[in-house]
């Protein structure tokens, strides 16, 4: 069967399978009826039902959501339930949920959700959906006011090729510049400035959501980091995310390797000097070592990607990006098959 035949077969099976699955879909639920909220309090408005259906013992603060169709959906009555405590601005991971500019919603790409993190000392770590940056923030003097001062930021180009991504980064740049107002309601943070409204949600995830496969999630020098990878028709990409450490903001970096250049290898360095090793070696390689220039070689793990040739270097650890590095690959007999050097220029 050719590749095209395989695709046609797959397409037919998926169409038939999804049609059978959707045929078992339930009837649509009744539309939740919403009443306008009187204040900027809880996001969930008080919901009323046309007819209350007895559902037995309800938890304190529970109300019926809809009932005229005989189905009862129980939710929390925001006027009686104990509201969750407000999360602190500092020390909380904030993920952007909504962004509007003059009331117009801005697209947030699910794979590039902006995040915001402020240390108790007022150091800011920010990812705007494209670039990572830092800065400082002062709270006050008026209640609910903030003043941001931008710091170093990466300069990746994320223009029209990424759809509305550029607008998200622009919206964040406007919203987090100079004096702004902020409000925290439970686990939601709202920041407003110059017609921009940014709504953030507190997250307990160590790192931003991703659909890419996690290669490694560990700690280095007490700082959690995560490396994910993804493959497409052109090659591979790896991304490093690192939590805030002592005098280092949270940040990340990424590398890409092209399949049509199997000897290519890249090391990326972010603003704080972290880097990760990534590259491709010939399929004849059985082992490999890496070493800083003039340093002692250390073994590095070779990992196969989807059974493809050649193999590639896995991440051994986050390394000092200010140094020059050398990787040597050997075949099963210990004969060198590849030698790659890279590091900062100059």
């Amino acid at each position: 069967m050719t590749h095209d035949d395989e695709l046609d077969d797959l397409d037919q099976r998926m169409r038939a399978g999804l049609a059978a699955l959707v045929a078992e879909a339930p009837d649509p639920p009744a539309l939740p009826a919403a009443a306008p909220s009187a204040s900027a309090g809880p996001r969930l408005r008080l919901l009323a039902a046309a007819a209350v259906v007895a559902v037995g013992a309800l938890a304190a603060g529970a109300i019926v959501l809809a009932g005229s169709d005989g189905r009862a959906h129980v939710t929390t009555d925001p006027t009686t339930a104990t509201p969750p405590p407000d999360r602190p601005l500092a020390g909380t991971d904030w993920l952007l949920q909504e962004a509007t500019v003059d009331g117009e919603p801005i697209t947030i790409e699910p794979e590039r959700v902006p995040f915001l993190y402020v240390t108790p000392e007022g150091t800011v770590s920010l990812y705007d959906g494209c670039n990572h940056g830092g800065g400082e923030v002062d709270v006050g003097p008026e209640p609910g006011s903030l003043r941001f001062e931008a710091g170093p930021v990466t300069a990746m180009g994320c223009g029209a090729a990424r759809g509305e991504l550029a607008h998200v980064s622009v919206a964040i740049g406007t919203g987090l510049r100079g004096p702004t107002t902020y409000a925290i309601d439970g686990d939601e943070l709202t920041i407003e400035a110059d017609g921009v409204v940014l709504r953030w949600q507190a997250s307990d995830e160590l790192f931003t959501p991703t659909d890419d496969e996690v290669l490694v999630q560990d700690e280095l020098h007490g700082v959690p980091f995560r490396v994910t990878w993804t493959a497409d028709e052109d090659g591979y990409g790896m991304e490093l995310q690192r939590r805030a450490g002592e005098s280092q903001p949270q940040g990340g970096t990424g590398v890409g390797v092209a399949l049509d250049d199997p000897a290519s290898n890249l090391m990326k360095v972010d603003a704080r000097g972290d880097a990760l090793l990534f590259g491709l070696v010939p399929s004849t390689a059985a082992s490999a070592t890496y070493a800083p220039e003039g340093g002692e070689p250390q073994p590095i793990e070779l990992r196969a990607l989807d059974g493809r040739d050649p193999g590639f270097w896995g991440v051994l650890e986050v390394v000092d990006g200010s140094q020059r590095w050398e990787v040597v690959a050997y075949d099963a007999q210990g004969v060198e098959v590849d030698r790659l050097r890279w590091g900062p220029r100059g």
Binding site: E6, L7, D11, R13, M14, R15, G17, L18, A19, A20, L21, E24, A25, P26, D27, P28, P29, L31, P32, A33, A34, A35, S37, R43, L44, R45, L47, A48, A49, A50, V52, L65, H73, T75, E98, T100, G103, E104, P105, E109, P110, E111, A161, R162, G163, V197, D204, E205, L206, P209, D211, E213, V214, Q217, D218, P224, T230, A231, D232, E233
Partner: protein, 159 residues
């Protein structure tokens, strides 16, 4: 004593136009038993969102709300560890004697929520990658990437 609900006729009309499609989407993403709750939760959040009155493409907004609701539910349900995680979360369990097309359900479960959404919109809604990009608020390149990876996984699972 609860007051009569203030139903927005515009919201009711919008919902009626998209409800069946949204439930079909939620069924593909989370299974028949979880679809109704997913749509209820997503629509409730949409109606409560201050951005909703300003949204122009309401169908796409609702689609994204359902996808995000299922995605958020899985994230909350996943165990977080500091160790390496190689296997994508599986959303549903398959009952070959009860479920229609159990092999497709099992194959879908091997995909991420976003990949399932792209697959659903490709094979059930017959949308182009460009249209899917608009519907989900992604770039067309991301859609193509999701679809390519999903197809590779589906071929392996359905082999």
């Amino acid at each position: 004593m609860m007051t009569e609900p203030a139903v927005d006729e515009d919201d009711a009309t919008t919902y009626a136009a998209h409800a069946t499609r949204l439930v079909a989407l939620a069924t593909a993403l989370a299974g028949p038993s979880a679809a109704e709750d997913a749509v209820s939760a997503a629509v409730a959040k949409v109606l409560a969102s201050p951005a909703w009155p300003h949204v122009r493409d309401r169908g796409a907004y609702l689609t994204r709300a359902v996808v995000n609701e299922v995605h958020d539910h899985h994230r909350r349900a996943m165990r977080r560890t500091a160790r390496e995680r190689r296997v994508a979360p599986r959303a549903t369990t398959v009952d070959p004697e009860r479920d229609p097309a159990p092999e497709v359900i099992a194959a879908l479960a091997a995909l991420s929520v976003r990949q399932r959404a792209v697959v659903f919109l490709t094979y059930w809604a017959d949308l182009t990658p460009a249209a899917i990009a608009t519907e989900l608020g992604l770039s067309e390149g991301s859609v193509r990437k999701h679809l390519a990876r999903a197809r590779a996984t589906l071929r392996r699972e359905l082999a």
